[in-house]
């Protein structure tokens, strides 16, 4: 990875986000750290409620009440984003970081034409543009994301676009100010597989052309394998495994990652094997367990797992995992029972 040579684009240190609900504090993100290099694609996988979207929303400052960042830092090119004033945040958002959302229909304004929304994004951030030049640039952007007949399409409303087209328009909107970081929150989940394939190809292509870093949030392991360089697996507010895609997919270290991989049916399996599911259900974040969050569902659960949280340790080059099993392998004593 490049990130060692250059400074990292984004550094997150011990980020904690909580939701203060009437029934108690929900620690949606509970102390995660990672860094993202220039020109790198990081995948974040996890089930619903694992905190993957919340973490991304806090980077771009879109957390909604009752959510609050309660600890940690988010450094973007060395500056702590959490210290920004609202005005600085406005400049930061869209210009340096932008986001693509899951459902393009609810994220585009139905009463403005697609062109208007593109031009607005551009003129908000770059005062140098005249309306005419901005329109030209918007048409270029639409062409870049593969919308045919862009000159006509630009004056249409979102409802005149199909699902895949809308997602393309969203991508155009996100990239029009040439941000350094793009956060994609389940951008293909609402789409059909053939359209998903088109959008993934487009994103790979644009990433190469524009050298944008991407944080790609998804629950689909196949999509991660396709597009990401590195991957973080989240469970109940923690990153439990992180590493290069190849390491994580071919040599998964955490029982949860292994469980996810073995419970997914694969197109390339030769014999029909029974799926190995992860038993139980995700934990209740209002009453998290004392020890490892995955402990209650883990096949290899030991005594210590229920008592203490496991530390996040390096298990291979650039490959991290949080599990007590790694200590068992090293020392081979205590906690072998149960």
């Amino acid at each position: 990875m490049e990130m060692d040579e250059k400074k990292a684009l984004l550094e997150i240190e011990d980020l904690k986000v909580s939701f203060f609900t009437p029934v108690g504090e929900v620690k949606a993100v509970n102390g995660i750290s990672y860094s993202l290099g220039y020109n790198e694609v990081m995948g974040i996988v996890g089930e619903s409620g694992s905190g993957k979207s919340v973490e991304a929303y806090s980077i771009i400052g879109l957390l909604q009440n009752p959510g609050k960042v309660v600890g940690g830092t988010i450094k973007f090119e060395g500056e702590n984003v959490l210290d920004y004033t609202e005005e600085q945040m406005r400049q930061f958002r869209g210009n340096k970081v932008s986001m693509i959302f899951q459902n393009p229909m609810t994220c585009l304004n139905p009463v403005y034409t697609v062109g208007n929304q593109l031009i607005e994004a551009l003129m908000c951030h770059d005062k140098g543009y005249t309306r005419k030049a901005a329109r030209k640039r918007a048409i270029e952007m639409l062409e870049l994301v593969g919308i045919n007949n862009a000159e006509k399409r630009i004056d249409q409303y979102p409802h005149e676009f199909s699902g895949g087209m809308r997602q393309r328009a969203m991508i155009a909107m996100a990239l029009i100010c040439e941000p350094k970081l793009l956060i994609a929150d389940e951008p293909t989940t609402a789409l059909d597989v053939t359209i998903q394939a088109q959008i993934l190809e487009l994103m790979k292509d644009l990433q190469k052309k524009k050298n944008t870093s991407i944080i790609f949030i998804t629950h689909n392991l196949g999509v991660v394998a396709e597009i990401c360089d590195r991957v973080s697996v989240m469970y109940a507010g923690h990153i439990i495994e992180q590493g290069d895609v190849d390491d994580v997919f071919y040599n998964p270290q955490h029982p949860y990652t292994r469980g996810l991989l073995s419970s997914t049916p694969r197109m390339d399996e030769v014999t029909k094997e029974r799926l190995v599911p992860i038993e139980g259900t995700p934990i209740d974040l209002l009453n998290p367990p004392k020890g490892c969050n995955f402990g209650p569902r883990c096949k290899d659960c030991m005594k210590i797992c229920l008592r203490e949280k496991p530390p996040f340790v390096e298990v291979g080059e650039g490959h991290y995992s949080a599990c007590w099993l790694h200590f068992k392998k090293q020392s081979g004593k205590e906690d072998a029972e149960a």
Binding site: H219, E226, Y250, P265, R266, K272
Partner: protein, 329 residues
């Protein structure tokens, strides 16, 4: 599946059109051709998977077979007896058949009445078909069903919103099993669930099938899941069946250009394989079923389309034993 065997369900030229509301009364009435001339058999004890993109008519097909939607025309034969035949004007009363044919819906929270307890939901089917002689028998049966789908018996007194998505889907499955059916339409039963819960439900469906000799029509858009659970797979495009074959044959030797595209679009959870493989990307989007293309419905996006494809609609022919394809090439 041997073709000499008697099919449990035989569907012939089934059509379902939905009229479009709000069209000008002076103009010709418009219809969405959701299912257009679909014919196939489902054999006892098998799982037939149906895949296709959204809007291809797979859910409509499932519901029309159960006559939750009244078919527009065609024939449905259940175990040798016609339950619908538009030519002979047969449309039997469905109540006795509801004991044999059931459905599991996609969205568990939307398909369970939030104001009924789980016991009432599961027991309602028993009430309608009068499947018990005493109150005690009724509650025993409910407990037995909940146990079967991996829920506790005390869950019977709780309400659906108190459960997680996976548990709600289990309630939906228990309700379908209540009448001891032979045939269940599984309409995207797992797509609303989390990845780690999906495999639990898939395994449970497989176990229940083996225990109760069930026949499934398994509808889903996730091809890897359908391939895993099904014996045979049918691929639908714009209301028509374009290919139907044994599931491994279909995935390893797809014939129809649409099937090939669909398969190559499925992301593989394997970084090296997914980097190296060639993908067939389709141009454009699915045409509107209001105004489907002439001839082969796929010709507008097919890279191999010829003049014949534009004019003549290909029929579903048996290309090799058990492998049906609708393509001129």
């Amino acid at each position: 599946m041997s073709s000499e065997q008697n099919p449990l369900i035989k569907v012939e030229n089934l059509r379902k059109y939905f009229p479009v509301k709000g069209t000008n009364p002076l103009q010709k009435k418009k219809y969405v051709q959701a299912v257009e001339s679909v014919s196939f058999n489902i054999y006892r004890g098998e799982t037939l998977g149906i895949v296709g993109e959204s809007g291809c008519g797979k859910t409509t097909l499932g519901r029309t077979i159960l006559r939750l939607y009244e078919p527009t025309s065609g024939k449905i034969i259940y175990d040798g007896a016609p339950i619908y035949d538009s030519e002979k004007k047969i449309a039997v009363k469905m109540l006795p058949y509801r004991r044999k044919m059931q459905i599991i819906f996609q969205d568990p929270s939307a398909s369970l009445d939030p104001r009924m307890t789980v016991g009432e939901i599961v027991g309602e089917a028993l009430d309608i078909h009068k499947l018990y002689s005493s109150k005690k028998e009724r509650s025993e049966r409910i407990n037995e069903l909940l146990d079967k789908v991996g829920l506790n018996t005390e869950h019977a007194n709780r309400f659906p919103p108190e459960f997680s998505g996976g548990q709600q889907q289990r309630v939906g499955i228990a309700r379908a099993l209540a009448v001891d059916p032979e045939f269940i339409v599984c309409d995207e039963p797992i797509s609303a669930l989390d990845v780690s819960i999906q495999s639990q439900v898939v395994n449970m469906l497989e176990d229940l099938q083996a225990e109760n000799h069930l026949t499934y029509l398994f509808i889903a858009h996730d091809i890897s899941v359908v391939r895993h659970i099904s014996n045979r797979i049918g691929v639908m495009y714009l209301g028509q069946m374009v290919e139907l074959a044994d599931s491994y044959e279909l995935c390893s030797k797809p014939v129809h250009p649409y099937t090939r595209t669909l398969l190559s679009a499925v992301p593989l959870p394997d970084p090296i394989k997914s980097r190296s493989r060639q993908r067939i990307l389709l141009e454009g989007e699915i045409p509107s079923p209001l105004n489907p293309p002439s001839g082969c419905r796929f010709h507008t996006r097919c890279p191999y389309a010829t003049d014949r494809c534009r004019e003549e609609c290909p029929e579903l022919r048996e290309q090799s034993p058990g492998h049906f394809v609708a393509c001129h090439l």
